[in-house]
Symmetry: C2
Subunit: 385 residues, 2 copies
């Protein structure tokens, strides 16, 4: 039996957007879906029951962090990530590649894999396609990601950078073969391939052809939101998403702000993850339909308003005022990050629900009317974590 079944329930006639359901061994989730990030087997500060109350149906775990601590064999001892962290709904794990390339002191990259220094004790760790599969098989997420070569993002390519990018693309394709061969639990865990290619659309096309030549339960667009702007994200996504097989879920990794999600959904993307709601929440930056609210600002000191009127999240629905939340942040009380993270995740879940409804109704004007942030000034919330 296949680990994943994707059912498209509605296809927009005016754009590439679609609504569907992804069925996994731990239940289903609606698409387009937004996954909160639970890096180290915890969505920071939130009991799983509270994460559920935001409407989240699927979360993401980070292979890189979990392989270093507590170690995937320890997680396996506890029966896998779901049981370890007491999250009984679907989970997706990344391959570890992105963190290795972006966070690590890398000693060596070659065709075999990557050797890097552990951020915990500096010891050398090898990550290869086979090892990433083994770790993800032990973690036991419902959806697992192929291990790919992620070279640093660049603008215009010089000859050397172009050669590095081409090598990374070819390597990613060869590593995907090795991931497929090494994956031990294809009946329980759906392996997604990842399309790289930087900001060069021709390379993206080539990468889609390479990756999609292997039949997989889903495909992802990687190497996006690594420093390029909203317009580059749009160019890449609007070009790449429609090239991916229509009958498989499409996952845009690590994106993003509300307007990025709207654009990507309209381009045919089904799944998203991003640290924005939790990271910004920990920094007192709240998302609302009308744009960001910085709760540390003195203007909120005596505000009896909730973060957002009409919101039913545990923060707004619980009666906590902006003034109280500001106090919690100034007093360095954990409850501040907890409440604003809950609100922010609920905000993104509500956006996804209304995006799904916009597809079903083919009514984008109403969506834009209800979400001024989608059409207004695209001022990014400070991301100073």
């Amino acid at each position: 039996m296949a680990a994943l079944r994707f059912e498209i329930t509605c296809q927009s006639t005016s754009c590439n957007a679609r609504v569907g359901v992804v069925h996994t061994p731990h239940g289903w989730f609606d698409t387009p879906a937004f996954m909160p990030v639970g890096t180290k087997a915890s969505v920071k500060g939130l009991l799983p029951e509270l994460v559920k109350r935001t409407g989240a149906q699927v979360i993401l775990g980070n292979t890189y962090h979990l392989m270093l601590r507590p170690g995937s064999e320890t997680v396996a001892h506890f029966g896998g990530l779901h049981r370890f962290m007491q999250w009984d709904r679907p989970i997706l794990t990344d391959s570890g590649g992105y963190q290795v390339f972006s966070m690590s002191d890398i000693n060596k990259i070659n065709d075999n894999g990557v050797v890097f220094k552990s951020i915990i004790d500096g010891s050398p760790i090898e990550l290869t396609p086979e090892r990433s599969m083994q770790v993800q098989n032990e973690l036991g997420a419902d959806i697992i990601m192929a291990f790919d070569d992620c070279p640093p993002a660049t603008g215009a390519l010089d000859t050397e950078q172009a050669a590095r990018l081409d090598l990374a693309m070819d390597r990613t394709a060869r590593w995907l073969d090795r991931c497929v061969a090494a994956h031990r639990r294809p009946d329980e865990q759906a392996l997604f391939g990842i399309v790289q290619g930087g900001t060069d659309l021709e390379r993206r096309t080539r990468c889609v052809e390479q990756v999609c030549s292997i039949e997989l339960p889903g495909y992802a667009i990687g190497g996006v939101a690594v420093g390029e702007g909203t317009e580059d994200i749009r160019r890449i996504v609007e070009h790449t998403a429609p090239l991916l097989p229509a009958e498989r879920p499409r996952y845009l990794m690590g994106v993003g702000y509300e307007w990025d999600l709207l654009m990507a959904v309209r381009a045919g993307v089904d799944m998203f993850d991003c640290v924005l709601p939790t990271r910004n929440g920990r920094n007192a930056n709240a998302f609302t339909r009308s744009g960001p609210v910085r709760l540390r600002n003195a203007c909120h000191a005596r505000s009896e308003w909730p973060i957002e009127a009409g919101c039913d999240c545990p923060a707004c629905g619980g009666g906590f005022s902006r003034g109280y939340l500001r106090h919690l942040f100034l007093a360095e009380e954990m409850l501040g990050p907890i409440l604003v993270s809950l609100h922010n995740i609920a905000h993104f879940q509500r956006l996804m629900a209304e995006l799904r409804q916009a597809v079903v109704d083919d009514d984008w004007a109403r969506l834009l009317a209800n979400w001024p942030v989608l059409g207004g000034a695209r001022v990014a919330v400070a991301d100073d974590a």
Copy 2:
């Protein structure tokens, strides 16, 4: 109408223990009661709904911290502490005195009051009986405490220390008169007097006479658990509690471990507060019926056990293993302190419930059998916050 009504529902025949109910404008709580500490308008890391789920019926807020930030006039603007922090059950605030004397850089103490430096910005702040009452009136707790002079704890007294202690006692008595005169909301907030006197029982007797000469809705034993050992606590409490009016709730401030609570309940004490469950919880030290469990210990790395079998708190009942909790602490994830704080508060609430039952049944043997920690080696949990 009186702000507080104390109903004794059962008086032990074998000791001074009693079971009762304290009725306040924000509902009732059972006694003997244990109050978790919500210093800065938050029980650290815990949504009010989760605090309730531990069984807690009344919590404590700290006047000292709240007067400095956000300021009591700000809390009053939000309709008082209950509404500000969204805790709709009874609250008790202390007078600020203890923190001024123990935490502050004091500039001046005289008969009028104390001038100290703010821990927030170093500015000079004056706290007097009148100011403490004003702040506590603005915070709006159901039970408020008299402002007293708390000299540092000492062992055997030299002449100078004895003179300082006697001055503090006389001053405390004079300040109590001023508190009563300055209290603006006696119909909504019950003012408790505080008995000081150090470890000298004769002084305790004299202080009881002074304080209890003023009729108040309740009386507290202060100046305990400020560095002296369990045996000194026992001596003071067993001497002092029975001297306090039997028809008023008796509150032992800042105590303590399980065996301290057992002893004090048997001496006739009705109310307790202590930071142990939350502070130790944040440091990965869990309380159980059998004694402390240090969750950072390597022996828990692969433990699938909950902190305590049979416990229905959100941590144990939620299926979180010791191994997972250890991981959260090593990974510095907020969820670790949250879960262990919840367990620890639930532990103390369960102890109070079983203490109440022991009084009703007059069956102390069963209590001791169910709580090995009460009879076993009295090894204190490290308190390294």
